[in-house]
C-alpha cells in the first residue's frame, strides 16, 4: 500500500471531501464572526455559499458512497463501529444540512409562509453551527475508522 494524498488508504474523493468539509467548517466559523462584527450581508453570502456547496458535496460524493458501502448493511450491522459512525454522521449530517437550508430559505427569501418563518435567528444559527461541527467531527472519526490502518486496533 503506497502512500499518497494524505498518506492513508482513502480514495481521492474521500480525501477531497475531508479537506473540503474541514474548510467549510472553518468558513462557517468565519461567517459567524462576520455576523458578530455586524457585516450581515457578507455573513449571508458566506453561509449561503457553504450550505449550497455542502449540498452538492453530499449529492455527488457522500450519498453514492453511503448507498454502496453502508446502506445495504444497516440496520443489521449497526453494532459494528465503522457502520455506526458512518450512519450517525449521515443522519446528523442530513439534519444539519436541512436545518441550514431552512435558515437560508427563511432568512434569505420570502418563500415560506409567515408562521413558518424564524423569529429567534441567533438561537437557530448557533444551534445549527454547533450541530454542523459535531457532524464534521463525526466525519473525521468515520474517515479514520474506514481509511487509516492500525489506528484504534
Amino acid at each position: 500500500m503506497s502512500g499518497g494524498f494524505l498518506r492513508t488508504a482513502a480514495p481521492l474523493t474521500a480525501n477531497a471531501v475531508l479537506l473540503m468539509e474541514t474548510a467549510m467548517g472553518v468558513a462557517l466559523l468565519f461567517g459567524a464572526w462576520l455576523a458578530r462584527t455586524k457585516r450581515f450581508r457578507q455573513h449571508a453570502w458566506c453561509q449561503s455559499a457553504i450550505v449550497l456547496l455542502n449540498l452538492a458535496v453530499i449529492a455527488v460524493a457522500m450519498t453514492p458512497s453511503f448507498r454502496l458501502q453502508v446502506l445495504p448493511r444497516i440496520p443489521g450491522k449497526l453494532a459494528k463501529p465503522y457502520y455506526a459512525l458512518a450512519t450517525a454522521h449521515a443522519a446528523l449530517g442530513t439534519v444539519a444540512e436541512l436545518a441550514a437550508l431552512y435558515i437560508l430559505i427563511a432568512a434569505g427569501t420570502r418563500l415560506l409562509p409567515e408562521k413558518l418563518r424564524i423569529t429567534r435567528y441567533k438561537a437557530w444559527m448557533r444551534s445549527v453551527l454547533l450541530l454542523w461541527w459535531l457532524v464534521v467531527l463525526l466525519g473525521f472519526a468515520t474517515y479514520v475508522r474506514w481509511y487509516v490502518p492500525d489506528l484504534f486496533r
Partner: protein
Amino acid sequence: MRRSVSFAVLSALGLLGMSALTAPPKNLAILAAQKAETAEVKIDNFSFGPATLTVPAGTTVTWTNRDDIPHTVTSSDDPKLFKSKVLDTDEKFSFTFSKAGTYSYFCSIHPKMTAKVIVQ
C-alpha cells in the same frame, strides 16, 4: 499348433485385462481433468495476501476478508471482469479464471490496495 493358438489368444486376453486394470476408466479420467483447482487469497490489514498469486487456468480463487473493515475485490480491467459486493469481516468472494493472463485487481473502497492473479 492348436495349443500355440490358444496360448496366443490367452496372452492377448491377459494383456487386454491388464491394460484394463492399469488404465483408469475413460469417464474417471475426464472427471479428473475437470476437477477444479482452488486457491485462497486473504484480505488483512489493508492488503491482499499473497499480492501475486499464480494459478493454472480453470482455478477458482476465493478471497476472504479477515480484516475488521469492509473491502471489495474489483477487477482493474475495463470492462470489469469481476467485482465483489462490499465484503464484511469473514465474508468471501470467488471467481474462476478460465483464460491465461495477468489479472490485476484492487479494493474499490481503498484503491491503494492492489494485487494480481497470474493465470498460466
